[in-house]
Subunit: 395 residues, 2 copies
């Protein structure tokens, strides 16, 4: 059966109806909300209609299982507290359309809580074994509700965890959530790797003092330490980073944070992301050397919090080549290879099987907002690339 | 009658007994607290014993009035929430000792709420006409208590405002509250001027974004704007400032202040102090030009809050010369002329009459803390300088 573009677009709009809110095509459908559970039940029905066997696992991940061994495709259907209609939903509905049209057995998945109401990509983290269920159960959301209480709302649907060995690989289509494709007027991004992340808190402790009576040369000003660190770091990173590398000081807590007091302490976050684990390590070395030099120069103490890290995940070459071949057929000269700067369910699934990812443009790079959108022609192009790729893999 | 060093030291310790707390010689005696009011009643008694007429005004300023025209001396006897035993108290008790020993008529004052439970130097600001009483009454402290309610606790003592025309001038002795005299092993600082202050809030608004998917060259990061502004400002100020000039970024509020989000907005305080109003204006010009350049370079919006300012106050030359002559007699070669980087009641009183100020060292520059202290020999040296100065003015 050929893929049906209109059915695909119609299903996207039908899914959007669960939790449709806000301006534009906004959606409020966070994990385990009434709208989320209703959407999953509707999806299960569509899976049945497509000849798949719906299967809810204990954390609410919904699989539509093909008989026997199959390729798994999908993403997630939960949304941010104020989210768009395509973030996650696109990958699920595209997978459903491919499963309906492909000669090859395709299973579909909608992972639960990708958007991190409780953790980060919680549903796929538990399924992949990256996050033990008993640890997940102790997680709480912003309102203090525990994960075990939240997933209890779907307990009547649970049929146990799906054996991952029935799947030969996983392909996830997703909106880019960044400006690269939109800015370069390209249609498709084939993901080379999902970047690794390092994140740590750094503190400089100087001397809190009177901002009127303390001469500049006797100050040990924690904010000045932060500013000097940032300036030197930007300079020193230049020889190490690529255009894909990113780093961010996103949180700054100054103490006592008063206009008439020389700041005595600053605690801030330093986060950096890159597809190459060696580069992440070189950046860490530069960060630590620079922070120590600043602390020595300004006479402040230096303290580090725990270094949190997720390793880069390279996409499987066979699956990725199939997507690249499809991209060149569907959008010749209008696609690129690119890393994913954001985390996705595919990161977790890569523990279990080969994975690959496909991006379509986000208009103005906007995501995690009601205003998120993608040109309908690009949505259909993405679906066509998947179709080509799956056919080439079957051949 | 000669000055009595022991009586002076004993009175300082007696005053400290009201609110004595914490480590070292710490004191908790904020304005209108039980300890503060009890201390003022004790002071009124000591004034009577010294032949002065105690007089409480409607905001709780306590005067010990000499008959007829007189020179006014004093400071304040309220403390910081966690204060030292000398901040303010020293100037009041020294004035009392000079009033007792001098042949010339000396009146004594302890201003109320110098430490700013409600505003800044509130009691002397109201008396000097700088702050209308009805405006002061609407001020609230950190707990939401209004100034009019707080001063109501002393309403039974009030005898109306004192006519400032009965005073020929005002001399205030105070601890330095900075490290300059202690670091240079000097005994006395004669204040040349109380520096002026400029204080304003500056905001850079860029674009809040995903810290993983937003490439560095497409970011409009508000924290980076702040850091660049600070770096350029430090560089550009170099040709304009003196060793006495100070500037501080003491408060930084980043939005949304999360490790995985490129900061979209920063609001921060920029405060600068100098004894020269022209220099304050040149610094403001550099601040505004630099902020605009940074905003243009990084594509952020720029916004300013209200510019708050207090003009520099030069000390009266006659009174100051008397203090300098006294300093050279008491501590030859061990004194200096210096600006006051901190605000004092003398700033307000200068609206009404000639003023001058004298500093003694703060050990390690510490103040607004229980650990604040001054060597007893330095306290006595300061008293002796006042004694010499008042005698020379009488002659």
């Amino acid at each position: 059966m050929a893929i049906d573009h209109q059915r695909f677009i119609d299903d996207l709009h039908s899914l959007r109806a669960f939790g449709a809110s806000g301006v534009g095509k906004g959606v409020i459908r966070p994990a385990y909300s009434e709208a989320d559970i209703a959407a999953r039940k509707w999806l299960a029905g569509r899976m049945t209609e497509a000849g798949l066997t719906p299967h809810f696992d204990p954390v609410g991940n919904l699989f539509g299982l093909a008989d026997g061994p199959s390729l798994l495709m999908g993403s997630h259907s939960d949304s941010q507290p104020e989210g768009g209609w395509l973030d996650g939903a696109l990958g699920v509905i595209a997978a459903l359309e491919i499963a309906r049209s492909s000669d090859r057995p395709i299973s579909v998945v909608s992972f639960q809580d990708e958007e991190g109401r409780f953790g980060v990509t919680t549903g796929s983290a538990v399924w992949s074994g990256g996050l033990p269920l008993d640890k997940a159960d102790a997680l709480t959301d912003g309102a203090g509700i525990r994960f075990d209480a939240a997933r209890g709302a779907m307990a009547d649907l649970s049929q146990g965890f799906v054996d991952p060995n029935r799947f030969s690989g996983f392909i996830e289509m997703h909106i880019e959530q960044g400006p690269t494709l939109d800015a370069s007027d390209e249609t498709i991004g084939v993901v080379t790797d999902i970047v690794g992340i390092r994140d740590m808190t750094i503190s400089f402790e100087g001397q809190q003092n009177h901002a009127g009576t303390t001469p500049m040369h006797l100050r040990r000003d924690a904010f000045q330490a932060l500013s000097l660190f940032n300036t030197q770091l930007n300079d020193r990173f230049r020889n190490v980073v690529t255009p894909q590398t990113v780093w961010t000081i996103g949180r700054v807590d100054l103490h006592p944070n008063a206009s008439s007091i020389v700041p005595g302490r600053v605690r801030f976050t330093m986060q950096w992301r890159d597809g190459d684990a060696d580069r992440l390590a070189r950046m860490e070395e530069i960060i630590r050397v620079t922070a120590q030099e600043v602390a020595d120069d300004l006479g402040t103490n230096l303290d580090y919090g725990t270094l949190l890290g997720l390793e880069p995940v390279a996409m499987d070459l066979t699956l990725r080549t199939a997507l690249e071949t499809g991209a060149e057929q569907v959008a010749p000269g209008k696609w690129r290879r690119m890393p994913s700067g954001a985390l996705h369910d595919a990161t977790n699934v890569s523990r279990l099987m080969p994975v690959a990812m496909l991006f379509v443009p986000s208009i103005n790079g906007i995501s995690h907002a009601f205003a998120e959108d993608t040109d309908e022609a690009d949505l259909i192009a993405g679906l066509n690339v998947l179709d080509h790729a799956v056919r080439s893999l079957s051949g």
